[in-house]
């Protein structure tokens, strides 16, 4: 992204930004609509749907607005490492909480 881009390249990127914009708005509406389902589906399904949509939205922002889709190896390495530890932070305390000594 440091190099000078031609006008066509920029136009292509702008089209992608607009498409992502539309997708994000649509997904936001869908996620709110899906939340009304929680009366009919179990909680775990609600959570799964909400997180899945959020992950898709987040990925669009990361890949296209933050240009991650054509970033360099160094950045990917740092982020993959972070993702791994992020998941550990989220999951391990939760799992420890689930597996408690029964008194």
């Amino acid at each position: 992204m440091g190099h000078d881009m031609s006008e066509e390249e920029i136009q292509k990127h702008v089209r992608i930004y607009m498409f992502v914009f539309g997708a994000l708005l649509t997904l936001t509406v869908i996620t709110v609509a899906a939340s009304y389902l929680h009366h009919v589906v179990p909680m775990s399904v609600s959570i799964a749907i909400a997180l899945l949509i959020a992950i898709v939205k987040g990925s669009l922002v990361a890949c296209y607005f933050m240009h991650l889709i054509d970033e360099r190896k160094m950045i990917y390495l740092a982020l993959i490492l972070t993702a791994f530890f992020f998941l550990g932070l989220l999951l391990l305390p939760f799992l420890t909480n689930l597996d408690q000594v029964q008194t």
Partner: protein, 595 residues
Amino acid sequence: MGGNHESTKTDHPEDFDHPEEHHHDQGFWRTYIFSVDHKVIGIQYSITALLFLFFGFCLMMIMRWQLAFPEQPLPILGALLGDGMPGGVMLPDFYNELGAMHGTIMVFLGVVPLAVGGFGNFVVPLQIGAPDMAFPRMNMYSYHIYWMGGLIMLISFFLPGGAANSGWTSYPPLSVIATMGQTFWLLGMVFLITSSLFGAINFITTIIQLRAPGLSFMRLPFFVWAQFVTAFLLLLAFPPLEGAAILQLMDRLADTSFFLPSGLVVSGQALELSGGGSPILWQHLFWFLAHPEVYVLILPAMGIVSEVIANNSRKPLWGYKSLVYSVIFLGFMSFIVWAHHMFITGMGTGMAAFFQTTTMIISIPSVVILTALLLSLWGGSLRFNTPMLFALAFLPMFGIGGLTGLPLGLTATDIPLHDTYYVIGHFHYVVAPGTIFALFAGVYFWFPKATGRKMNEFLGKLHFWPSLIFMNGIFFPMLIQGMAGVSRRLWDGGATYDFAQNVLYLNEVMSYSAWGLGLVQVFFIFNFFWSIRRGEKVGRNPWESTTLEWLAPSPPPHGNFDTVPEVYRGPYEYNVSGGDKDEFTPQYKPAGGGE
């Protein structure tokens, strides 16, 4: 011989002969206080950290009076220590303040700022052939935010109720209901974490981006690798503690119940709070940082020891690749072992087995590193100067520290040992005759680069030998007391417990050793300041070393090198061609003859 390098054209030719005299008309403040030069900042960090280390040590020496002579008035000093010691006799709450602040100051204000802020800042740009860090201004901010956080912590001693006294671990609910000093602790931590994050970003970017031409990752001195991994630990492990600190501040100041369970009763009174919180949540968030933090404490030390050993054995480090892969693996594993600090919180056998397993696995890279360093000595022409003595002592001391950690990592044996003096003995072995000895080695080793003079060898040995003896005198008995069942954080050192009576005499042994250790540091302090003015003058490469920092003048000017150095080989080419005479080929010497 690859020693001296002819100076070439530069912007400030007068800098090289008299680097300390160059005049940039920046004024006192910009030159000494708000400098953006990594060397000045490194020295600032080092001096501030050494002062904090000294202060934290003093706190412990006062604690050891109480432990050796429970409830006896402390002569002279006791009267000066205020409400915490009425009539010179220590109150339990004050003991707890000393304990909590000793730990906090040593770890966060002393060792890490010295190891990373001091040595890292000064040496890394020089060792990679860079003119400075990638973000010099952010480096300056890091330092000032650090000492401000430290000041906040120190001020807390003067608050009503005194400083934080809930352990360096600040476990709720106790820490939530503690006096104002705890709030200052939390605020101080926010400052320190911010400083640390800026530093980590700087180190990682610098090492990736500013390596000199020819300096590939696998040609880096091991010290740089150690700092690189350490920076990642700081970057990714500190934020959850910042989050936890925010939550605890909310509990203390906004009456939330993040860490307070329902139905909590304090001194007979039920707390009128929403409840529903979890003290264990704090422990998870705290140890998520605090475990990687202990590797932050040891990794730079291993780096320093590696440099000193390679240089003073006059042969390449054994197993460079295994050292690098081990330190990377160690850094990675350090994020998934933390709950071995929480084995007795009621976790079931499944998760306990998980953390026990990861903990056992993480001992492997440590052993690889220690073994590689030991093997590096084999067949070497050892030079027993002061830095080498400290580096050599590090090996068995860290060995004891590491081995004593094993029963703590195994759940079954941890249960009787948790929160006893055994734990204190274990971690002090690693950090005190471990890391701190390595830091001493680093001071003696790089002092000539920073000042252009060597420290005195005789005084160095007077510093080393008694320190080694006293360190063991303090910490070995702790292992014994711990196995006897003496709990940590007891204001009376276990005096009221029947089962402890047989090992109580060790309290006096430890205290005398502690005061002895304090006394012999005088040799170091005197040597340090005396040598700045009167030490033996040296040139660029007094230790006949191969790494890039010895190419620059002693001390280096702004920008460090005459021209951008080029690197032609790995970092430890000592006596590789196997002749009779001691020879070495610096990294920056062009291949095949010619300077």
